[in-house]
């Protein structure tokens, strides 16, 4: 699961995809996930980091994580 390399992400969660010219906005948790994905972290590392920082249980996180990945895929922000 890798996010496209050329995607630009700002600190405030603004995302720009230069290949399509489309832009997106992320909420805080979404932004952290995208940054971790960009760093090449795998699911377990990301889960550990988020569970330590946020008030969320493991199952809920997993559920929302995969839903979020689906949205990234739907918006063509993941590498094939």
């Amino acid at each position: 699961m890798k996010i496209k390399k050329n995607i630009a992400v700002s600190e405030s969660g603004f995302v720009f995809d230069p290949s399509t010219g489309e832009s997106f906005s992320l909420n805080q948790v979404g932004l952290e996930l995208v940054e971790l994905l960009k760093q090449g972290e795998d699911f377990d590392a990301i889960k550990k980091e988020i569970l330590e920082k946020y008030d969320v249980d493991e199952i809920s996180f997993e559920k929302y994580y995969y839903d979020f990945i689906n949205s990234l895929n739907q918006n063509q922000l993941l590498e094939d």
């Binding site: 992320l26 909420n27 979404g30 920082k53 008030d55």
Partner: protein, 448 residues
């Protein structure tokens, strides 16, 4: 270290096309409490979903409506429209504020009596009054509003055999310039049917014609239509005095005033398009005062407004059951509130608000109820913050028609609580149980 609040992660595509006519989106605020009682505590204690009625709001709305009319017209009386919300506690708040009862069935009439209304302060409307209903209403001196000729003749027949003279009014339908014109209830003004009915009442000699009644429609957004209706009733009152030297005691303008809810398909929100109660009051009072009715004979003005008096006082609290992604990528959120208990979802785009703080992010969301039925849709598409399972929501302006038209379908009807003026919470209708429902059923012997 205290952990941060987790919001479901999401990404939203930004559209850089034309902005909408209204520019930026409206900021949504959470509803965390009702009359200073926490929504979370209400749900924890009384379950979800939960209807909440604010007694404070009922009384405030009633007083402001009463003031709007009584400052413009000398004699005003409100009658609480039972069908809008006939939970006893709600009716009694209105009666304590001074409202009479307005009922449209034998069942509602019984309820009005049980709520200690004197017989002569109950208005009996509607096309369905049985012989027994009419006898009871006559014996109690209630105000019977005749809907059709069959009822008129039944009353003349009843009056001949009764010691008491039935007190009657006729319901009149008319063209007031609004569409659709309601003509299924009562007698028509323009084609002379109303005058015909009045003649028959006056010539029968055994009915006491006390008033004239109209109800021009529902959710009427034009105050002007009420002015036209009041003027037509005033004309009839003047004609009655001229021809029979008979002075009627009241003119009943019915209800139909709109509330601030957003009608489906409406271009602008209700708060921008709905006339204030003062505008309705102004149109009606001016028409009556400017009519040819002699000042000494000005009739009592009765109003049966329901929705505009109770909608604002009702809230429906619920919980997020699940979130899903639709085939086209849209988000859908499933609540435990279905159209079976929120009947008005068929008419209104209800204002659904989270009950806890949320970030400024939002995405287009379809909001569904819990029923395994395709019709169970609360909002087709609304810009909504990303709620998680078990988050709470509040739907406001649901006081009118839901607690009477709700259905026991698939799920049970939930608790209804009232918050009194001091912040005390009382269950005014407990949630249904399976025992309540099966107690009405009977099994034939061979199936036992």
């Amino acid at each position: 270290m205290e952990k941060l609040v987790f919001e479901r992660p999401f990404i939203k595509k930004l559209n850089s096309g034309m902005p909408s006519k209204f520019g930026l989106k409206t900021r949504m605020e959470p509803i965390t409490e009702i009359d200073e009682v926490s929504v979370k505590e209400l749900i924890d204690k009384y379950g979800s979903p939960l209807f909440v009625i604010s007694e404070k709001t009922i009384r405030k709305t009633y007083k402001s409506a009463e003031r709007a009319f009584s400052t413009r017209y000398p004699k005003v009386q409100f009658a609480w429209s039972y069908k809008t919300n006939y939970l006893d506690a709600v009716c009694r708040v209105f009666h304590k504020e001074g409202a009479w009862a307005e009922v449209v069935s034998g069942f509602e009439y019984e309820k009005a009596l049980r709520n200690n209304n004197p017989g002569d302060q109950i208005i009996f409307n509607g096309p369905d009054k049985s012989r027994k209903d009419l006898e009871l209403a006559t014996a109690n001196g209630s105000l019977i509003h005749i809907d059709h000729f069959d009822e008129l003749y039944a009353l003349i027949d009843l009056a001949e055999k009764s010691e008491k003279k039935p007190k009657v009014a006729i319901r009149i339908n008319m063209d007031t310039g609004i569409y659709p014109q309601w003509d299924r209830f009562g007698f028509n003004y323009e084609n002379g049917e109303a005058w015909d009915a009045l003649n028959r009442i006056m010539l029968s000699g055994n009915l006491d014609l006390v008033g004239l009644h109209t109800h021009i429609g529902t959710f009427i957004l034009s105050a002007d239509a009420y002015g036209k209706a009041a003027a037509k009733l005033a004309d009839l009152a003047v004609s009655l005095e001229r021809k029979y030297n008979h002075v009627i005691k009241y003119i009943d303008m019915g209800g139909g005033f709109a509330s601030n809810s957003n009608l489906k398909g409406a271009y602008l929100p209700g708060s921008d398009t709905v006339p204030g109660i003062d505008e309705y009051a102004d149109a009606i009072s001016s028409a009556l005062i400017n009519s040819a009715i002699k000042p000494d004979n000005l009739p009592l003005l009765i109003l049966e407004t329901g929705r505009a008096l109770i909608d604002e006082a009702g809230y429906l609290l619920g919980t997020v059951l699940a979130n899903k992604r639709m085939a086209d990528g849209r988000r859908s959120t499933i609540l435990d509130i279905g159209v079976n208990i929120l009947f008005t979802a068929f008419w209104y785009d209800h204002n659904i608000r989270p009950a806890q703080p949320f970030s400024e992010h939002s995405e287009e969301t379809a909001i569904y109820g819990p029923l395994c039925m395709n019709i169970d849709v609360l909002r087709e598409a609304v810009d909504f913050p990303p709620l998680k399972k078990d988050d709470r929501v509040v739907i406001n302006r649901v006081g009118a028609y839901n607690m009477t038209q709700w259905m026991q379908f698939i799920t049970m009807r939930p608790n209804v609580v009232m918050i009194d003026e001091k912040g005390g919470v009382h269950i005014i209708r407990r949630n249904e149980t399976i025992d309540d429902l099966v107690s009405l059923e009977k099994l034939p012997p061979h199936l036992k």
